[in-house]
């Protein structure tokens, strides 16, 4: 086990165990460093996550999704202040897209959340997707765990402004909030499959623009119950702070519902299944990548396939299980 964190920028070397100790003591710098380790997929990240994991599972995780510009960041900004006034600590992980051309990103969600300033009970982290599809980054929910271990009572996850089918958030968060705004389409838009099936709470933001009743009616017409919970539909105007109390109440009601009915535990198991499979796939694909770099055996297989001595499926099996050629 390597203990030293590679100097990200010529900084003092912090060991993983020191960072985790500091994190559990509520140190924000340690939280930030740990998130970077995970995001950069450093070898130490596995050890860090293993140490953090026993200290997680307490925070209520709320995902926000919806089209770009609909007001997700502004709503979260208002909610952060609302929850602070209710004396709860709040974490935010806000995801924005990485350029598929340059790998760069402009992360701008913080602009909308500037009100929280230096409040010690708030931690906001911006994150780029780094090529991961589905509106989230690969590291998003491990970062949520870090904030959970930091002692945050509620963690908001803001997805990339999603289109119609970025539904991954609903498999990860305890509560999924789908944000929409008026004047964006007729009743058929709200009948479409995908993002409008996943909400536990629907928000019609920008109610100050008017015409919100039509969208509220259309949403209510198509609501589907998840785990016996009929989704709430809340009207808000984030810039004016309207509807924020009602939204916070709806989030708390849903959290209480999940606890009382045992669905929170069930969602945790469903999420665990997904995470185990995902991690297994990652390990496997890493193994494949290593094998394909091993050279001679891989080259020989490629020659065999090109010469029609072997089909590509059989070659793949041979690549993974060279000693068991008949493995299915």
């Amino acid at each position: 086990m390597r203990e030293a964190v590679p100097a990200r920028k010529g900084a003092a070397h912090d060991s993983v165990s020191d960072l985790v100790d500091d994190l559990l003591a509520g140190n924000k710098r340690a939280a930030a460093k740990l998130i970077s380790l995970i995001e950069d997929d450093e070898p130490e990240a596995t050890d860090a996550l293993a140490r953090i994991f026993p200290h997680t599972g307490r925070a209520h995780v709320v995902g926000f999704t919806g089209p770009p510009g609909v007001g997700k960041s502004s709503l979260i900004n208002r909610l952060v202040r609302k929850y602070r006034s209710r004396d709860r600590k709040v974490g935010v992980v806000a995801v924005d897209p990485t350029s598929p051309y340059t790998g760069g990103a402009v992360l701008g969600d913080r602009i909308r959340m500037a009100d929280t300033g230096v409040d010690p009970g708030v931690f906001i982290r911006s994150m780029a997707t780094r090529g991961h599809a589905g509106g989230l980054a690969l590291a998003t929910f491990d970062a949520v765990r870090v904030l959970d271990a930091l002692g945050m009572d509620i963690v908001f996850v803001e997805t990339v402004g999603a289109g119609q089918s970025e539904v991954e958030i609903a498999t990860r968060a305890h509560t999924t909030v789908v944000v929409e705004m008026p004047m964006t389409g007729d009743a058929v838009q709200t009948m479409k499959a995908g993002i409008l099936e996943i909400g536990d709470v629907y928000v019609v933001n920008k109610a100050d623009l008017g015409n919100e009743d039509v969208l509220v009616a259309n949403l209510k017409f198509q609501l589907t119950a998840r785990d016996g919970w009929i989704p709430s539909v809340i009207r808000t105007a984030a810039t004016e702070g309207r509807g924020i109390d009602e939204l916070a109440d709806a989030l708390d009601r849903h959290a209480a519902y999940l606890d009382q009915t045992g669905f929170r535990a069930k969602r945790e198991v469903a999420r665990a299944r997904l995470e185990i499979l995902e991690n297994a796939q990652r390990l496997l694909s890493r193994r494949v990548a290593n094998r394909s770099r091993m050279g001679r055996a891989f080259d020989a297989l490629a020659e065999d396939v090109a010469a029609r001595r072997l089909d590509p499926h059989a070659a793949a099996r041979k690549l993974l299980w060279p000693t068991r050629p008949r493995e299915k």
Binding site: A7, R8, K9, G10, A11, A12, K28, R29, A31, A32, K33, I35, S36, E39, D40, D41, E42, T98, S99, P100, T102, G103, G104, A105, V106, L107, G108, R110, I111, R112, A114, G117, V118, F123, I124, R125, S126, A128, R130, G131, L138
Partner: protein, 135 residues
């Protein structure tokens, strides 16, 4: 697909009360196009806000833009607060309308580099690339 890799993270911030952020946005865009992750804080930030954001975002460097003339107060304050928070390893660059005679004083106060009007974007990108490599 862009593989996961260590990325250079930069905070671009506007301290103080001036509302001119075209320059900050142009720099943010140039750094994005150079493959960096740029967190833009928006206008009217206090040095405390900026340092808090830099720590939470675990950035390699901060770019401060000031066109109001308050740079002699605001820029050194950011450096001072970073040191106080045990984050003096985060490099600070300044830009904006900054008189020549102020530049040595700012450098003495810990501002690594000052980019005045007319600075080619490639010089700015090069600075942050070096900053991200731990130089």
């Amino acid at each position: 697909m862009i593989p996961i890799a260590k990325k250079i993270r930069v905070l671009i911030a506007k301290p103080g009360l001036d509302g001119h952020d075209r320059g900050a946005k142009v720099v943010a865009r140039a750094l994005r196009d150079a493959g960096m992750e740029v967190i833009y804080t928006g206008l009217r930030q206090t040095p405390e806000d900026i340092v808090e954001a830099a720590i939470q975002e675990d950035v390699d460097a901060i770019g401060l833009s000031c066109l109001s003339g308050a740079h002699m107060t605001l820029f050194p304050e950011v450096v001072k607060l970073l040191k106080k928070r045990k984050s003096g390893d985060i490099l600070v660059a300044g830009g904006g309308i900054i008189p020549e005679e102020d530049v040595p004083k700012l450098k003495k106060a810990g501002i690594k580099v000052v980019f005045g009007p007319g600075t080619p974007l490639r010089d700015i990108v090069a600075f942050f690339e070096t900053a991200g490599k731990g130089a």
